[in-house]
Symmetry: C2
C-alpha cells in the first residue's frame, strides 16, 4: 500500500475551455464524406436538416485546432468534471508490474459514462438554434441516458428509440431515461414508416440498432424543430470527447509523468479519440513517441481485420458515405455484452490515423475482457462497463509485457463507464456461461465481397 497521491483533479478554473480538433493538425487529412446521391463531397449545409448547424460545421472543420467550449456547456461540465485521473496502485500490485498504470475515470459522470461530454454540447447547440426536440437511438442505453439528461438540462424534449429486446430485457436503463423525463419508445414502433413497415411484415420483430437509427432519423427529418443526435463515430462527437484527454494531459503533469501508451476501448471511436488525440498532438507536433492502442472486440474487429473503403455508417444506408475501416455495413456483430462496441466501422479521423500508422488496433476476446474487469474490480473497487473492460484488458497485456521486459512504462487508459447496469453480464461470467465469439478471416472477406464499391 502506498501513501503517495492516488487521485489527481483539476480545479474548476483549470478545466480546459476549448476542445481539440486533431483534423487541423493531421498531416494527411481525412478524405471527405460523400453525398451518396450526388457523389460529391459533403458540405455542412447538406446535414442541416439532421444536426444542429454548429455541429455540421464542426464535423467538417479541418482549419481550427481549438474550438471554444460554450460557457453554458462549461458550466454543466462542472457538475462532474474534472473527472479523476487515478493511479491504479491496486492493479499494479495485483499484476506485480513495474509499469505505472493510470486511468481516467469517466464513470463518475452522473449518467455513468463519458457519453455526457458530447450529449451536453449537442443539446446546447440545438437549444441555441431554437430547436425544441432531439431524438436518437440507443441499444443498451448509455447514449440514450446521456442525451435524456442533457435534453432535460437545456429544456428540450427527448425521444429515444430503444431496441425492443433491450427495452424489455434491461428495464433499468429505460427507467433511468424516463426518470430524466425522456420519452422512450421500443423500436420497431408504429410511430415511423420504417417501424410500421417492419411491424406490418413481422409483428414480433425485436428490433436492431439499424432499425432504431432509421426511426430516429425519420422522426428528426419529419418533425418541425427536431434534430438527430449521434453518440459516436462522427467527428464532432469525438471533438467533444477530447475534454477527456485534455484534462488527463494536465493531470498527468500534476502526477509528474507522461504516458508511453494511451489506451481506449473502441466502438465508433469517440472515447478512444477523446483520450488519445490531445496526446497524439504531441506526437504530430513535438516529436513524442507515445503508442495509441484502440481495444476492439475480437468479434467485431474492423481495425485489425477490416478494410479501408467508403461505406455507410448505418445498416439501412441512410447516412453519407464515409471513408472508413469497415467490416461492411451489413456486418452483424455477435451479441457480446459490450453493446457499445458492436459497430461495423470506425470514424473517418481514426480511420485515416490507422492508415497512417499513428495508432494501432488490438482485438480482445469477451472472456479476456471480463477476466480483466474482475481483476480490476477487486483491485480498484470500481466495476467497469463491459466496453471499458476491453481497454483494461489491453492495459493488462501491456503491463505484463513490462513485467517481462522490466520496463517502467507509463500506461494510461480511459475507464469510459461503470458496469452497474450490466451486472447480468457479470453474473453470466461468474457462473461460467459466457463465451467467446470468433469471427473468421473468411467470414469477413465474404461479407466485404458482397458489398458494392460505392466510390
Amino acid at each position: 500500500m502506498s501513501t503517495k497521491q492516488k487521485r489527481f483533479f483539476l480545479t474548476e478554473e483549470e478545466i480546459p475551455t476549448q476542445w481539440y480538433n486533431i483534423q487541423a493538425d493531421m498531416v494527411n487529412k481525412p478524405m471527405p464524406p460523400i453525398n451518396p446521391a450526388t457523389k460529391e463531397p459533403l458540405k455542412p449545409e447538406d446535414m442541416y436538416d439532421l444536426f444542429a448547424e454548429e455541429l455540421c460545421k464542426q464535423e467538417l472543420n479541418q482549419e481550427n485546432a481549438w474550438i471554444d467550449i460554450p460557457e453554458e456547456v462549461r458550466d454543466m461540465y462542472k457538475y462532474y468534471r474534472s473527472t479523476p485521473l487515478v493511479r491504479a496502485y491496486g492493479l499494479e500490485k495485483a499484476l506485480d508490474t513495474p509499469a505505472h498504470i493510470y486511468f481516467k475515470n469517466e464513470s463518475v459522470s452522473p449518467v455513468g459514462s463519458h457519453k455526457l461530454n458530447s450529449a451536453l454540447p449537442q443539446a446546447y447547440y440545438c437549444k441555441k438554434q431554437g430547436i425544441t426536440n432531439v431524438t436518437t437511438e440507443t441499444g443498451a442505453g448509455q447514449w440514450g441516458t446521456a442525451l435524456s439528461y442533457a435534453a432535460k438540462v437545456f429544456g428540450l424534449e427527448a425521444a429515444v428509440y430503444q431496441v425492443k429486446i433491450s427495452y424489455n430485457q434491461k428495464p433499468y436503463r429505460r427507467a433511468i431515461m424516463q426518470t430524466y423525463g425522456a420519452q422512450v419508445t421500443p423500436s420497431p414502433s408504429m410511430s415511423t414508416r420504417a417501424g410500421k413497415d417492419i411491424l406490418t411484415r413481422e409483428p414480433n420483430n425485436q428490433g436492431s440498432l439499424g432499425t432504431a437509427i432509421s426511426e430516429a432519423i425519420e422522426l428528426a427529418k419529419n418533425t418541425p424543430n427536431c434534430r438527430y443526435a449521434a453518440g459516436s463515430v462522427l467527428s464532432h462527437v469525438t471533438l467533444h470527447q477530447t475534454i477527456i484527454g485534455l484534462e488527463a494531459e494536465k493531470q498527468m503533469e500534476k502526477a509528474g509523468e507522461y504516458p508511453d501508451i494511451v489506451i481506449g476501448c473502441f466502438g465508433g471511436g469517440s472515447n478512444f479519440g477523446g483520450i488519445s488525440f490531445p496526446f497524439m498532438r504531441h506526437n504530430i507536433l513535438h516529436g513524442k513517441n507515445t503508442r495509441f492502442i484502440a481495444a476492439e472486440p475480437a468479434s467485431c474487429p474492423k481495425l485489425t481485420h477490416g478494410v479501408f473503403q467508403y461505406d455507410f455508417a448505418d445498416v439501412a444506408g441512410f447516412t453519407p458515405l464515409l471513408p472508413m475501416f469497415t467490416l461492411g455495413h451489413n456486418f452483424m456483430p455477435a451479441n457480446i455484452h459490450a453493446g457499445g462496441l458492436r459497430f461495423h466501422g470506425a470514424g473517418v479521423i481514426v480511420s485515416q490515423l490507422l492508415k497512417d500508422k499513428m495508432m494501432e488496433g488490438m482485438d480482445i476476446n469477451q472472456l479476456e475482457s471480463f477476466e480483466a474487469s474482475l481483476l480490476f474490480s477487486k483491485a480498484e473497487g470500481i466495476i467497469p462497463a463491459p466496453e471499458s473492460g476491453h481497454a483494461i484488458a489491453a492495459a493488462i497485456r501491456e503491463a505484463k509485457a513490462c513485467k517481462e521486459s522490466g520496463e517502467e512504462k507509463v500506461i494510461l487508459f480511459n475507464l469510459s463507464g461503470h458496469g452497474l447496469i450490466d451486472m447480468a453480464a457479470y453474473d453470466q461470467y461468474l457462473s461460467g456461461s459466457l463465451h467467446d465469439y470468433e469471427v473468421s478471416e473468411e467470414e469477413i472477406r465474404n461479407n466485404l465481397e458482397k458489398m458494392e464499391k460505392y466510390i
Copy 2:
C-alpha cells in the same frame, strides 16, 4: 445557470486524519448497553467474540473526542475521498428558493454509498488482529457490497447472508458482491442452526433481516478467526462515518458558508450521525445554533413516534440491550423501497441526543421521497438511492419554507448513495404503482405494549 464554483474538494493532504467521537463531548452521555444475561453494563470484552477488539473499545469510548484513523484506512479512503461537496444550483433554481443548498455526494464511492467508510476500518481492524473471515447480513445489499469489497482489500474472506427474497429478486447486488469475491448465501440457509430450524419448519421461507443477522452472528461465533461486522446502529459505525461531516466542515469553509440546517436520512443513524456530529460539536462547544434533521420513513417512525427504552437491536434478541428510541424490536416495517431505513430503533448516541433536543426527527412518506428524488435527478443529474430521497425531501421542505419566509438559509444534506441498482423502484413510481404505507399511533402503542420491560 451560474459560473460560480459548483463542487468543492479537499486535497489528499486535507482529508481528516481522525474521526470525531461525539460521546466525549456530550453533556449527557448515552446510557450504557446492558448485558441481557447479567443485567450489568456491557464491557468491551463482552463483545470480543463478536467484533474486532478495537471496535469494541471504540463502541464504549466516552473519553476521547478524536480517534486516529489508521494509515492503512486513510490510504484506502484516498481511493474515493474526499467526496465532493456540491452546491445544488440546479435544485435551487427548480425550487426558486433563496436558500443555499449543498449536498455531500457519498454516492461516488466505488460501492455507491457511504457504507464503505466503515467497512474499510472494520475489515482493517479484523485483519490487524489476525482475523481471517468476516460475516454480515444484508437486505437489498448496500452494506453487504461495501463489506465484500473491504474484505477483498484487506485479504479477508467475506460471507454475506442475504435475505432470500432479495437474493432472488435483486440479482444485480448479489452479482456485485460476488464480483468482489464474497460468498453470498441466501438466508435462511442450511449452513446455520438458526437457518436449519426455520427451513425444517418452513422450507419455502423467504427470509428476513432478523434471520440473516442471526445466521451471520451464529457463523461468527462458531467459526475460528471469524467476526461479525455491523453496517449501522452501533456507535463505532457512526464514529467511522464522521469522516463525511469532517470533510464537509472543511469544504463548507472553502465555500465560505456554514450550515443553518444539516439533514441526513435515518435508518440506524450512521449516515445521519456521520454528516451531523462534526457540526453538532460546534453547537455543544461553541454556541452554534445549527438545526439537525433526521429524515425517517413515515412507515417506520421511531424518532417521531417511538418511545425511549431499553430494547434489542435485532428481532431474535441476540444483541445487548440498548437504550434507544424504538418501535419495539418485534415491529415489522412495511416493505418500502428504502430498505436501509426499515429498522425499528435508533443508535444509543442519537437516542440520547434526541431526548436532549439536540436534534429532531422528520417523517417522510414514500411518495414524497420519490417525488423529491425525481426532481433532484432532473435538476442535478444524479439518481438518488431511495433512502437518500428522504433527506432530499426534508431539504426541499426546508428550502420551500425559506421561499415562504424569504430567508437565505444554508441547508446541507447527505446524499448517502445512488439509486442505480434501485431502478425497479423508480419504474414503479413512474408507472403510478407505488403507494404510501401509514402506520397508526394505535398500532405503534399496541406493539410497544406487547414488549417486556427488560430493565
